[in-house]
Symmetry: C3
Subunit: 492 residues, 3 copies
């Protein structure tokens, strides 16, 4: 039996297949990718955090309070939001002592057994933060102190971590009306190639959203124009997209409930827009308008070359009482069945073979892997499959993704690994896990004589590094190509 | 090649992973659970069978005729219901010689290759009934005689088997109007803690069901009241629930086609109820009323503490001609795609954080494992995931369940193993199989260094014993807690 | 690392499980099936190709241009249809030099890594055509020359390949109005038992299809009658079905978008038919008529004994611009979610227990494997599950099929392997792969002690040979039975 008091350590073969024939091959494949730089093109790290480059806060406010994977699990087992320091909208008090919050988390470490949160956090706590004993109520305080001391070191400031982690490029996510001043600031200091914005216009594309009119006003202000009509709205969006391009953006990002892309006549779209400005839009019209705007976003991508990322299928804020009390993004976004084939047909008929469009599809509904996503990506030149996302960004989820989509889409029609994290410290853990899972999958192909080892090694490097670089290169831009994308030393 | 004439035996490592690294770990984990008591909280054994405590009948009427898994497979390959002794509603003759029925089954033993029925029956025939030769047309008679002799032994009476099988507690399933006299009888003889009823009101919650009015009249009679209005209906249900609580019930059980829980205004519900009493309700109104009553059941659970079990998604009696000829429960219930996220939203918004509600969700639609069920269970404190059920209660089905839900729900948001069987003799086989599959799953996590062995051992004991005990403890009741739940000797 | 310049060879253990305990058992099971004859009951090889028995053309027009798996993958990565020689409907020029087309394909060989196309083609190129170096831009010309030389040999004519491949029987796919002269010609030369037609009436069952009226006219002409009414339409279909029966047909084949089988009153059906003849039918009426005709096809099968094959769920020609430019079957058929349980209820209620009906169900939607298809096949005597089809006809797809359906349907309710290929040369590769995957699945059951080895060996032979023979024997016909179906030598 494992000695629970032994020094906490990460096993070098973790998440690799167990069988004694496959594991050494997986190990060999992992060796080819483990030290590649990180390409992080779909992150939710705040640009201001990087621009300010201040030390991270305490362990709880860094690792517990903002991590909705972690909060939701504790809540599901009866730990109140208040005890975890999740702020209330009404300003009533919640736990503010970070050490108490940390203790509440540490005492429930066992709940994370078998989850990816456990895998990522173990990596962060042991490998990055130097915690030496397995987390528990007993060891909580010692871990807290170790982490707090580490976070105070200069080498742990955000920009220093970009180097420490070998993050070649990181994309942030920014609303259409973002000023991008943090990005300008970073660019002025030489970080412009490594920290780029992403254009996320969701807030202004759903005209029945509370606050929509205010967000449209912000958009107008930022675009230096007024928006009184649909045409002006479209023009302002186009202007902001170009501003993002100027600031180095590679992509847009779209989180609709449905993947519908049915375009409207301009007259109809203008009428819905005008009604919405008057505050008089019903759900059906709003939904039709959102679908139309997805089509428009694809059209604009064919002009400005921004890669279009679409991740439908999350029903946000399932419990409206929790939304009212705590706000969004606290773990109550639940996936729903998602249809892609008919929904994307208008967009793909119009632009699916356009040389300037790249459409990256994500899903929360793994039932679509083999039925819809792989067949679409396996024929339309514009389509790439993003990495399995959110609840599927797990050892078994990533394995099932490769098993289900490779048959029909191959490897080249996927983007390789794309993390999707708000948790800055866990970025290397997520890339590490993905490289392990892909190594295991490729190793199985090799030992089943479905792939030669040299092909597996080349493919592994591509999945970890080459493919994400190429997927997020704007289609017009010079493409380093697969050979150039592989750093020296990666091929042995 | 296996010698088919060798003495029939169960291999100690059956259903454990084959690879030589994982199997010994799985074996070690299984050793920690194999001798734990059985907690059987969702059974369909008749309370009268236990109260009467008479010897079981012949092999065919015990093992063949009532087992719809078994009957359906034989029918699918052309064996007529008549030859299997499945009674006809019109009273026309069917095979009545149990030996002939047994021979028809034994001659088709090969059809069950690869099915869980094969696994369970092999356990029952070899380990419990002492059959010594693999079943076939040739060995049918000898097996029949062996079983018949065994069933005549005093140690094979129903209550004796509760001890022999180490069944700590078994729940029966009883209609809302059940008299519970068998339970009272058992309680008077000291079995009240071990045999408990379950409140299943399906028959009176679907007002367009043939026979609904009669069942409502039975409900009124049993509640000692009259039911002329919706309010009286609700009051009678509440009264019966409390009577079940008094009789030791832990839970309610609900088998709707859809998971819809949208509540109605009381005025509207009363109108549908009144119309139904007049025999004048359409399918849409009836369905809305059923959904409303699910919501009401949750509300009542917050008051009386009964655990609420919901298993939607079975289209009952797919072939209406078979229903007319043979009645329900002969193998023609077929699963349909089931939506949980929007359907449960009303119930969960109202009661998903209520300290007195525990909602156990089952499914026949594995496509919802990672997409809907794990995310819901992984955030709402009231929700637990039941074991994979019915067609999914299989070695590979249970493995896929753990692989798909653990990422997001962990282990603690599941109930551990819950059997669902009408076949009394197979209860130990089903628990044994579940413990084997969970041992294999946990062993993989250990050998992939995603879990430490001590954690896997503790989790295995929890899945087999601690979790079902806690899941079906009424929320108000004293909870033994995980430590107390583990018998001495289970931890090595 | 694999030496890419080594002589290209197929590993004898390819596609068998890697773990060192399971592989030798899989190998032993494969030995029992590897040399069984091929039963190919759902092919799309042109009967004329066999009747003419001319040498195959050049490598590109044989292996590249008509293979939509292959074309779609190249297109998805930016190779234009023109460069692959896919003809344009407007007659504008496309690449016609087969060597150039071959080079375009060979240079992109890496795209097929991990796909079944890679597996099949490797088998064809190495084992059948004798290519000696792994395909690439560098080796393209040498491979081309090797293949071209081989195709010119007399032993490579189509009928010779039937012997070389040990194809016991091959079914073609033929429209309702087919003259069947090629089949008559082949029969006259003694091939009537080995090459049989399949009745595929899709074109005349969808009255809103462009060209429907012309196809109905062709049907009338071939039936030697006129079709002015629904009754005459039904009579002509019945006549043609009998003509197919006379020509040796075993089965019909139906590719509808939905599985709906709701029958119409004859008066309503006649009205829709009459409206359609006038060119005045809407989509809803047409769809209802198609569903009705599926019901009718089942009824006719109970009379003439043709096995009914249904494969719903493909949305044909997703991109209408590609359809307009290149025609159908160039890779733009995309699966959609498919409902079977309610859709098939009318047909199964009417004929699901009829002794003369056999309904073989295929799917492109693997989410229905355990939820819908296995439960239906596991109870209705008329239903069998076809092999995983099209995008699921892959090593992992076939494994998931067995893992998901065997629990509830067993093996005997499946048809065993049924290939579905237009690529004549790849028929042995497809059967070989299927036998490997089934050997691996059965070996796992053996090493997990869920099946005895003698049972696994018998089952493997059945899946490869006995089951497809029996599944496609017309129900009235004499059935060789499983024992006779196993050739000498297959049992060791």
């Amino acid at each position: 039996m494992t000695d629970p008091t032994a020094r906490w350590a990460l096993h070098p073969d973790r998440a690799l297949p167990a069988d004694p024939v496959t594991r050494p091959v997986a190990r060999q494949i992992l060796d080819a990718t483990q030290h590649l730089p990180i390409v992080s093109m779909h992150g939710h790290v705040d640009a201001g955090l990087l621009a300010r480059d201040e030390p991270f806060g305490d362990p709880a406010s860094l690792l517990v309070v903002p991590d909705h994977y972690l909060v939701r699990m504790l809540v599901s087992q009866g730990v109140p939001h208040d005890a975890l320091g999740v702020p209330r909208r009404d300003g009533r008090p919640v736990e503010t002592d970070p050490r108490e919050i940390w203790r509440a988390f540490a005492a429930h470490w066992h709940l994370f057994r078998g989850t990816p949160t456990r895998f990522w956090l173990e990596h962060v706590l042991v490998d990055i933060l130097g915690v030496e004993e397995r987390l528990s109520a007993t060891t909580a305080d010692a871990a807290y102190d170790t982490i707090a001391a580490r976070l105070a070191e200069p080498g742990f400031r955000p920009l220093a971590l970009l180097d420490r982690y070998d993050i070649e490029i990181i994309a942030t996510t920014d609303p259409a009306w973002a000023s991008l001043t943090d990005h300008a600031d970073l660019a002025a200091r030489g970080w412009g190639e490594r920290v780029v914005p992403t254009f996320r216009p969701d807030a202004v594309l759903h005209p029945d959203r509370p606050g929509w009119a205010q967000d449209v006003a912000l958009l107008a202000e930022r675009a230096g124009t007024s928006i009184g009509s649909y045409r002006e709205f479209v023009a302002a969006l186009e202007a902001r997209r170009w501003a993002f391009v100027e600031a180095g953006a590679r992509a847009t990002d779209h989180g609709h409930v449905r993947a519908d892309t049915t375009p409207m006549d301009e007259v109809d779209a203008a009428a819905v827009f005008a009604a919405a400005l008057r505050g008089d839009v019903d759900a059906a019209a709003a939904q039709a308008f959102s679908a139309h705007m997805l089509f428009e976003m694809a059209r604009m991508s064919t002009q400005d070359g921004l890669v279009m990322q679409l991740h439908p299928g999350s029903l946000r804020d399932h419990d409206p009482r929790v939304l009212a009390e705590r706000g969004p993004d606290v773990g109550y976004d639940i996936p729903v069945a998602t249809e892609y084939v008919r929904a994307l047909r208008p967009l793909l008929t119009a632009f699916g073979h356009h040389p300037n469009l790249r459409l990256v599809l994500f899903t929360l509904d793994e039932d679509t892997f083999s039925r819809e996503l792989a067949p679409l990506a396996g024929v339309y030149p514009a389509v790439r499959l993003g990495a399995p996302w959110w609840f599927l960004d797990t050892p078994d989820g990533m394995r099932r993704f490769r098993e289900a989509v490779t048959d029909t889409a191959g490897f080249a029609n996927t983007t390789g690994f794309v993390d999707d994290t708000r948790a800055f410290l866990s970025i290397p853990a997520r890339h590490d896990l993905s490289r392990r899972v892909d190594a295991g999958f490729l190793a199985r192909l090799v030992v089943e004589h479905r792939l030669d080892l040299d092909e597996a090694l080349e493919t592994a490097v591509d999945l970890a590094y080459g493919l994400p670089r190429r997927a997020y290169a704007r289609p017009g831009a010079a493409d380093p190509g697969p050979a150039a994308a592989v750093p020296q030393g990666a091929r042995s």
